[in-house]
């Protein structure tokens, strides 16, 4: 159960809950979600939210709702996303509001998620799939130390994206 919550310097990362849809839905229906398959209709946004919750129920892990320690309101989702068609295990991120961009919370949350994926989930590899037209997200991947892997299998071969591969930490570090 403790694995469901991560704590960083500024953040609490917890399992998403239905109440987070109040913040997630407007993001999914806005232009801001273009880099992650949006903007979506109301009906599509509903399915995405349900699938995020279902991912946790099915697998026991999923993308965390990222909150500041002082406020339970979710600011975005960061963490594992591993649907059956994904060729590799992914850590993804989305920050829902422009006002929270540039604050470093995505990087802070992603570092905690990546650390969790190596140590607790014991993943063999970690990739992040980033749309070609999402330079902010690509910059974050590089900031995290990930490098482009042009030979990696694509999640949607018909619409390719950047595949960033995160470096495996040295044993004992």
């Amino acid at each position: 159960m403790s694995e469901m919550v991560l704590e960083t310097e500024r953040l609490i990362m917890r399992r998403p809950a239905p109440r987070d849809f109040a913040q997630f839905e407007p993001f999914l229906m806005s232009e801001r979600s273009r880099g992650v398959g949006g903007p979506r209709t109301k009906a599509q946004a509903w399915r995405v939210m349900c699938a995020e919750l279902g991912h946790w129920t099915m697998l026991g892990f999923g993308m965390w709702a990222v909150t500041r320690k002082s406020d339970d309101t979710a600011l975005g989702l960061v963490g594992p996303w591993t649907p059956a068609d994904w060729p590799e295990t992914e850590i993804g991120w989305m920050i829902w509001n422009a006002k929270d961009e540039g604050t470093g919370i995505a990087a802070e949350a992603a570092r905690a998620a990546i650390d969790h994926a190596w140590r607790v989930l014991a993943w063999d590899t970690i990739v992040s799939y980033v749309s070609f037209d999402n330079p902010r997200s690509a910059a974050l991947a590089r900031k995290l130390g990930a490098v482009l892997d042009p030979d990696a299998p694509q999640p949607h071969p018909e619409t390719p994206c950047h595949v960033f591969r995160h470096p495996r930490p040295e044993v004992g570090s």
């Binding site: 239905p18 209709t41 009906a43 919750l53 279902g54 649907p83 949607h156």
Partner: protein, 191 residues
């Protein structure tokens, strides 16, 4: 008088434990589990799923299943996996489907494994789910939205005593469908 968990759930774990287990003569119905997903995916990726948005890709099938699981948390109710008594083989799903575009929940049914078709199992499951909705969930009315070309499901709805309330064009992320909205007989007529 629908239970609404959407936006109201304080503890996601509570919602999961509300899922009932419904037993019928030949089946056990319980909340969908990850181990059911391959059977669902095989169905949704086949032509047999033409009336429910198929055939889907592998990725869309997985997301559709995760969405069915997650609906339980959002609504407090959802569809159930039908298991054969004894063998516990996964048959299909029946239960309470309520995506954003539907103004009220419906009872839906799908036989995922073709080997279980034609045995009246969907009818048996739908009757049990309807009784449960009236007796345990306190619902006063139930619908089912069925594609106008889905003769098997329409025949099933008629066996359940449903009548067509209207016929309309349903827009869903899975496609655009001409559907009949069937209204089920109410609790006073099915007791």
């Amino acid at each position: 008088m629908l239970p609404r968990r959407y936006f109201e759930t304080k503890d996601h774990l509570g919602a999961d434990m509300t899922a009932p287990v419904i037993e019928t003569e030949r089946m056990i119905l319980r909340k969908p589990m990850a181990t059911d997903e391959p059977v669902f995916a095989k169905f949704l990726m086949s032509d047999r799923a033409q009336f429910v948005g198929g055939p889907a890709t592998r990725g869309r099938a997985w997301r559709a299943f995760a969405h069915l699981v997650g609906q339980w948390e959002m609504r407090g109710y959802g569809v159930l996996t039908m298991l054969e008594r004894g063998t516990r083989a996964v048959i299909g799903s029946c239960g309470y489907f309520h995506p954003a575009e539907l103004t009220e929940p419906e009872i839906s049914w799908s036989i995922w494994d073709i080997d279980f078709e034609g045995r009246g199992l969907a009818t048996e499951a739908a009757l049990a789910c309807r009784s449960h909705a009236y007796a345990k969930l306190g619902w006063r009315t139930v619908t089912s939205n069925i594609d106008v070309d889905n003769a098997r499901s329409i025949a099933l709805a008629e066996r359940l005593g449903c009548h067509i309330e209207k016929t309309y064009v349903e827009q869903t992320p899975e496609g655009t469908f001409d559907v009949h909205l069937f209204r089920h007989p109410g609790p006073e007529r099915t007791a």
